[in-house]
Every structure is written in structure tokens, then in C-alpha cells.
Amino acid sequence: MNKEKEIVLRIEDVHKSFGENHVLRGVSMGIRRGETKILIGPSGTGKSTLLTCINMLTPPDAGKIWLLEDEITGSKRVNLLRQKIGFVFQDFSLFNHLTALGNVSIGLTKVKGMDRKKARKKALEELKQVGLEEKASSYPAQLSGGQKQRVAIARALAMDPQLILFDEPTSALDPELIGEVLGVMKKLANQGMTMLVVSHEMGFARSVADEVIFMEGGVIVEQGPPAQLFSSPKVERTGQFLSRLSGLFGEEGEK
């Protein structure tokens, strides 16, 4: 539905090994502005590695990655490109010594050089966006898992990113807290945020994903709109995995 929009992220034949373990064996894909793509697949398949390759926390061994016109993989000043790529971690990784507000505003003051007052105002707006403005002065240890993850999303949003990468954002959460995080993500998707999400929340995938990508063994096995992939996958293995996943539906997906 976004076929005419510009390509925000382009990945070309990315490889990554850890010692003997060839985790990514040539992955290529792209995301257009406003698209939400969901990455699924068994554990150890390289989904998380692919995400950390995109922002160069794990530099790929081979292959190229572009953010709009900039090649991330060849960049000397990768920190400038990372500002434009939000990252939401499975374990939240909020800065423990800062309040919710501090977590959201520190990137604005330290990285973007915004003055404190402006940063504070913008951070409050982002917290409002995730429904947590009343928790602005709480520290991470005083928040529930769902609240922590929403603060982490606000922290990513504050940098006005071109896209946000989500690495299993709900798999560290109690079942009753998952909804509030997925709710925020759904809202973002509807507002036109470009998102690449590693997740096994099939309900979420069905309702917001433009495309579901099934990865296994370090390669993309199959990709397509959720309706098509769920009802009539072209590759047998995709169907096997999805049916096993739907057996687990409502439970935590595997890592």
C-alpha cells in the first residue's frame, strides 16, 4: 500500500559470523516510509543480530546497509546515523540513574545539543504520547515492565527517528502488561512511523504489519502480507513454524 513511498532502509546481502557460527547468511530487504514489518523465526536465526547490524552495534562482516541516501556500513561517523534509528530493547535498558523524563531527554541534550528547557518540554510530550506523563519523575526501578518499555519507546521517539527497530519488545513482560506496549506500538504504526519489529505477537502482526518476514538459518525464507503468509504460505517450513506459533498463541513467543 506504500509502494510509491521512499525506501527508508535498504539491506543488501548482509553476512555475520561469530567465530564458527555463521548467523546471517546473506539477508536482503527494504522498508518504505510508514511501513511496519514483523520479523519472525525460530531462536538463533539471526533476527536480533540483523537488528543490531542495522545500527552497527554489531558491524556486519559483509553486505551493505543504507538509511535513505547514507550508507551506514561504510560510515565513519556512525553515531550521527544512529540518532536517526530508534532502538527498543527486549530488556528495556533504561538508564537506571535517570528519571523517566531524564531517560527521554538525555539524548536531546547530550546528542542533539538541545537546551534543557526545550528538551524537557519535548520529553514530556513524548511521555504523553505513550501515556506516562504522570510518571515523568519516577525512576526505572519504580516502574512496571510495561511502563519501562513505554518509556523506552518514548526515548526512541524523542530523537525523531527515521525508523524504529524493536527487538522482542514484549517478551520480557508479564502477559497482562504486553497489551499496553502493543497498544502504543499500534498507535505509532497508525501514525505512520516506520518500524521493523522482531516479535511473535501474531495478533499484532495480523492487525498492523504490512509484511511479515520469516527468517530461519540466517536467511529470509519467505516474506509477504500477513494475511497471505498466515493462510497460504508458499514454503512448507513457513507453514510449519506458523502453525507451531499459533499453538502457542497468547503465550510468550520463543526467543
Binding site: N55, L57, N79, L80, R82, Q83, K84, I85, G86, F87, F89, D91, S93, L94, F95, N96, H97, I106, G107, K110, V111, S138, Y139, P140, A141, Q142, R155, A156, M159
Partner: protein, 222 residues
Amino acid sequence: MTFWQVIQQSWSPMLDGLQVTMQLTLLSIVFGLALGLFLALGKVYGWKPLRWFCTAFIEIIRGTPLLVQIFIIYFGLPPYGIRLSPLEAAVIAFSINSGAYQAEYLRGAIQSIPSGQMQAALSMGMTPWQGVISIIMPQALRRVIPPWTNEFIYLLKYTSLAYIIGTPELMAQARFVASRNYEYFQTYLFAALIYLSIVLVFSEFFGWVERKFRIPGFEFHK
């Protein structure tokens, strides 16, 4: 002589000594902290040669007696043209020695911060240095306060070793007083009580600092 008389007679030279002891302690702990920060950051984040240098430095200093270090600096350097006053030599020796220990406390605290904190800092566009300064160190320094308090107390008492090279600190003054009044037990007891009360004041103070900077929500994890 009663204990009270000993105190009355000796409080003035003893307080002079205490002043030198505090000078020694405070200068050495501050220089030692600067050195310790450099060594710890070098050991954790430095490129290989710097890492090796920091590790070797720490091991050599921790592996040799403090008294030997004091003697090398005070008696060993003059032939090479470096003549230091007893106070200077003591401050340098204590700073170097304390720096090596502080480095290890700091390194432990830095490495106890989960790696996800740095990953999150980098992924929002911070440089590694910004991540260390804004995210890692504020948390590591809080965690280092209890062992650092220990180091401060050790150092305060180890400065008594400086009497050997003639630094007029509290221990040297106590020896001087006792050699005159021959009341060894009571004079050294007086010195011990002064050390004890200063240590209690500082450990109370650092306990207050620790509580003041504690991160809310972590009260029960400590």
C-alpha cells in the same frame, strides 16, 4: 600522670600532627582518585598497549609493600636529582599506592554496570565517550562509594607510616610527645582515639553521601 593530664599537655602538638595527617590523607585520596580513574578507564576501555600499561602499573603497586614504595621515593630518588620534602614524598607515595587500589574498585564498579546501558547509549547516537561520561560513570561512581569509603579509612590510617621519613603527622607527633613524657601507653592511646574519632566522622559522612545519591527504587536491592 593521669590520662587527662597527658591530653592537656599534648593536645597542641597532637593537633598539629592531625592537621598534617589530614593534609596527607586528603591530597593523596584526591590525587589517587584522579590516577585511579585514569587507570580504571584505561584498563576497561583503552586500546591494548594502554590496557597493558594500566594492568602492569596496578599489579606492581599492589604487589609491593607501601613502605618500600615510600623509601624508594624518599631515599631512592635523590641520587637521580629528585629531592622531595618528607611531606611531598609521602603524598606522592600514598597517591600512587591508593590510586592503584582505587582503580580496581572503580573497574569493578564500571564492569558491574550491565552492557545494555552502553548499547542503549550508543544506539541513541552517543559517542562511546559520551556513554561513559553520561551513562556509565554516574552509575559506577554510586556503586563505588562503599569500597571507596574503605579505601579512605585505610589511607587515613596508613598515613601514619609517613612518620618513618620524618613527616610531622599525628603518629610522629605522638612519638615525639611520648619520648618526652615517657607515658607511652596513654600518649599512644590518645593518638588512637584521635584516629578513631576522625574515621567515625568520615565514615558517617560518606554514609550520608551514599544515601543522598542512592537511586530511588533500588533501596531493597542493596
